[in-house]
Symmetry: C3
Subunit: 340 residues, 3 copies
C-alpha cells in the first residue's frame, strides 16, 4: 500500500486492461478498416472508462436493444469523431484506445435524443462530433497543466452548445424529451419509493450513462463492464445505489429516482474512484464523499440549467471528479488499494 | 518603497500577524483539543483574512449576539471542515492557520441562513463543509500555477451547489430569505438615502461578510479586526464606505444600501489591497478601482444569479481580487507601502 | 510548407504588418501626444487584429459615419484604457501596438449602445475601460500558461458585468436595443432570405464587429482591412459569408441574418485562421469547422444569455478560437500556408 496518486490510478483504469479487443492497441502499423472498427468500439467502451472493444460491442448491443435510431447515432458520432482525429493527425495510440471516440458517441446519442431526426440532424451530428474531437484535444492540452483527465467534458460542452443553438435555428426542432426552460422553485417530496423503484433505478442508473431509460439495457451495460473489469462493474452498481439513496434520503421525486437520473453521474464517479474503496479510512471517506457529492451536484446542475431548458448531462461527474482529483495530491492520508 | 508583488503582500496579510492566538501556530507537535479549538477559531478570523484566534472569538461572539442558530452553524461548519482536513492529511501548518476552516464556517452559516433547520439540514452542513475542504485543496492546486490565493471561492462554489440542489430535494426546504428566481429587469431609484442609511450601511457592510444584518454585530467585527490589525480594520471601514458610495451614486435601492449588501464584498477587497492604499498614484488608483469595481460586480452577479434565485455571496470579491492580482505583475508602477 | 504552430501565425497576424502607422511602434523613447494618438488608433485597428493606425482611422471614420455618439464612445474607451495602461506601467511595446486599447474601444461603444447617454454613463465608460485594461493584463498572465491570446475576452467580460449591473443601479438606464430577459424557446423559420438579405448581411456582418448595423460602415471596414492586409480582408468577407450561410441553412430568422448577427463572430474567427485556408486538406477542414462552429456557437450563446437579457457579444469568437488554438498543437497534419 503506497502513497497515493489518484491520477495514476485513473490512467491505469482507463488504459491498462489490455489485451481486450480485436487488435492489440499498440500496433500502429496500419489504419486498416479493422483497426478503425476496433477504435470506434473502444470509444464506446471508454464512455464508462473501459478500453475494451468487446465491452464496446456489448454496450452498443444494449443501445440497439432499446433504440435502433440511438444505436445508429452512437455509431455515427463515434465514427465522425474518430475519423476527424485521424484526418487532423492526432496521436495514434490515443485514437486507437478510443479516446477520440467516446465523446462523439455520446454527442451522437444526445443529438438524436433531444432533436427530431431529419437529414439536417444527422449532418449536425457529424459537425458536432468533429467538434468534440477538437474540444477533447483542447482540454487535453489545458488540463495537462494539472495532469487531470478530460473525462466527458468535451461531450458536455459540445452537446450544450449544439442543443442550445436550436433555440435560434428553425430547421432543428427539439423533441419533447428536452426540459422546458423555467425558473427553479422549491421541491416537495413526491411519490413513494418502493422496492421496484430501487431495482429499476439501480439498473436505469447504469443505462442512463448512455441516455437509455431501460432496465434491460442497464443489464447489458453491467455485463459489458463485467467483461472488462469486475472492480469497475461493482463500482458502477454501488455508485448507482449510493446516488439513488442520497436522492431518496433527501426527498427527490420518485419518478426521477426510478428513471436513474440520480444514478448515472455517481456510476461514473464510482468507477473512477473504485481503486480507493478497499483501502484506509481516509480513502473510503474520500471516495464516498465524492459519490455522495456527485448526486447532490446532479440536483444542483439540473436546477442551474433549468432557465436554459438544458439537461445536466454528465457535468456533475466531470465537476466533482475534477475537484477531487485536483485536491488529492494535497491529502497525504489517501492510499490506493492493493494490486487489484 | 520597493517594486511590488501584491501576492506577497496578500500572503503577508494572511499569515504574518503572529503570535496572535492561544497556541503558537508553528508548533506542530500535537493535535491536541486546544490546538483544534485554536485552528477553528483562526478559521473564523480568516473569513476576514486574519490569522488570529482572538479575532475569531470576537467574530463568533458577534454572530452569537445576532443569532444563536447561526453561531452554532458557524462552529459546526468550521469543525467539520477542519476535521476533514486533518482526517485526509492536509498540510498541518495550513490547518493550524485556519485555512481549511474559513470556508466551512461560511458554508455552515449560509446553509442555516437559507434552509429551514432540521436534522437533515445539520447533516447537510457537515457534508457541505467537508466538501469545502476538498474544493479548497483543489483550488490551491489549480491556482498555484499563477500563485494566487483561493480566497472564499470554495465557500461560494459549495454554497451555490448545495443550495441550488434543494430545488430537486423535497426534504430540504429553503427559507424566505433566499431570493425568488426571476428575470432581471430595469432598476429605478427607490428610497431616499439619509445619514441613518449611511451609518447602518457602514457597519452592516462589515457584518454582512458573515451574513449578519446587525449594526451591533458589525461593531463586534470591527473590534475583532482592530485586535488583529489596525490597517485591516481601517481598510474594512473604508471598503464598506466606498461600496456604499458607489451604490448610492449609481442609484441603488436604499434598502439594499442600508442592509450593507453593496458593502461586504468591497470590505474584503479593501482588506486585501490595504497595503497599497498609502503608496503612489498608480497603486492608489489601482486599489480604488478594485474596490469600486467590486461594488459594480456585486450588482452584476446579483442580477446574473437572479434566474436561479441565488445570492451573489462573495463571488464579486473573489472575481475582482483574482483579476487584479493576476494582472498586477504586469504593471511595474504598482508599489507596496512602507513597512506597515 | 512547414509544420504548424497556429499561435505563431496568430501572433504574426497581429504584430507583423509594420510599418503601418504614423510612428514606428518600436520607438520607445517618448510618450508624446502623437505616440498616444497612434496607440489609440492602433487599438481601433486591433479590434479586427490589425496593428495599423491607418486602418484604425478608417474604422473610426466608418463608426462616425453611422453614429457620432458611438464614435465618441469608441474614442473615449480607447483613450481611457490606453491611459490606464500607461499610468500603471504596462509593457510599452504592447501599449504602443494598441493591445491595451481595443477592448476599451469596444467597451465604450457597447456601453453607449446599450445605455442611455448621460454624464454618469460617460463616467461609467471610463471606469469600465480602465477595468478592461486590468482584465487584459490578467488574461495575458492567465493564458500565457498555454500561449494563447486574450482576444476580445476582456471586452466581453467587462461589458457583461457593467451592463448586467444596471439591473440594480437606477441611474443607469438601458436602451431598447438591449434584449429583454426571457426564457429560450423553440425557433421557427421566419422570413424569406433574398439576395438583398445576403448582400446586406455580408457587409453588416463586418460592421457588427463594432456594433454597427450599416452597410456603408461595413464597406468602410472592408477598406480599412484592405489597407492593412489583403488576406485579412478576404478572410473577413468569407467569414461573414459562411456565418450567414450556416444560419440560413439551419433556419435562422431572416431579420437576424440580414442584420449581420450571425456574421461578425465568424468574421473574426476567419481572420485568425486566414493563414491556414490555402494549405492542405486537414488545415482547410479545420479552419472551415472553426468558422462554421462559430456561427452555431453564436446561436447557442445568444440563447444562453437570454435569461439575463444580455447579448452574446464576441463570446462565440473567443470561445471557439481558444478551443481551436488550444487543440492545434496536438494535430500534426495542420500546416500553415506559404509565405503569404
Amino acid at each position: 500500500m503506497d502513497s497515493l496518486n489518484i491520477r495514476t490510478l485513473f490512467l491505469a483504469l482507463s488504459t491498462k486492461k489490455l489485451p481486450t479487443g480485436m487488435l492489440p492497441p499498440d500496433d500502429f502499423t496500419t489504419y486498416s478498416l479493422l483497426r478503425f472498427v476496433d477504435s470506434v468500439l473502444r470509444g464506446i467502451g471508454q464512455v464508462m472508462l473501459q478500453n475494451n472493444s468487446y465491452t464496446g460491442v456489448i454496450f452498443l448491443a444494449g443501445i440497439f436493444y432499446n433504440s435502433i435510431i440511438l444505436g445508429c447515432a452512437a455509431l455515427l458520432g463515434g465514427i465522425a469523431s474518430t475519423a476527424m482525429a485521424m484526418l487532423l493527425g492526432a496521436e495514434r495510440s490515443s485514437v486507437n484506445a478510443g479516446l477520440f471516440g467516446f465523446n462523439g458517441v455520446l454527442v451522437g446519442i444526445a443529438i438524436l435524443y433531444f432533436l427530431e431526426p431529419n437529414i439536417l440532424t444527422w449532418g449536425y451530428v457529424i459537425i458536432a462530433a468533429a467538434c468534440s474531437t477538437v474540444i477533447m484535444s483542447a482540454l487535453l492540452n489545458l488540463l495537462s497543466t494539472w495532469s487531470i483527465p478530460a473525462l466527458t467534458a468535451p461531450f458536455v460542452i459540445t452537446t450544450l452548445l449544439f442543443i442550445l443553438a436550436c433555440a435560434r435555428l428553425g430547421r432543428l426542432q427539439t423533441t419533447d424529451i428536452l426540459p422546458t426552460a423555467g425558473l427553479p422553485s422549491t421541491a416537495t417530496v413526491e411519490g413513494v419509493v418502493t422496492s421496484s423503484t430501487l431495482i429499476e433505478g439501480l439498473f436505469n442508473g447504469v443505462a442512463q450513462v448512455f441516455f437509455q431509460g431501460s432496465l434491460v439495457t442497464g443489464v447489458f451495460f453491467v455485463v459489458g463492464l463485467l467483461v472488462s473489469s469486475r472492480l469497475a462493474c461493482s463500482a458502477a452498481l454501488i455508485g448507482s445505489f449510493i446516488g439513488m439513496l442520497v436522492a431518496w434520503g433527501m426527498g427527490a421525486d420518485e419518478v426521477a429516482i426510478r428513471s436513474g437520473a440520480f444514478g448515472f453521474n455517481s456510476v461514473l464517479t464510482a468507477i473512477v474512484f473504485a481503486g480507493l474503496i478497499v483501502a484506509n479510512m481516509a480513502s473510503v471517506t474520500y471516495s464516498a464523499l465524492a459519490v455522495i457529492t456527485t448526486a447532490v451536484v446532479f440536483a444542483a446542475m439540473s436546477a442551474a440549467l433549468e432557465p436554459l431548458g438544458m439537461p445536466a448531462l454528465t457535468s456533475p461527474f466531470v465537476l466533482v471528479v475534477w475537484l477531487f482529483l485536483l485536491a488529492s495530491p494535497q491529502f497525504k492520508n489517501l492510499k490506493k488499494a492493493e494490486p487489484q
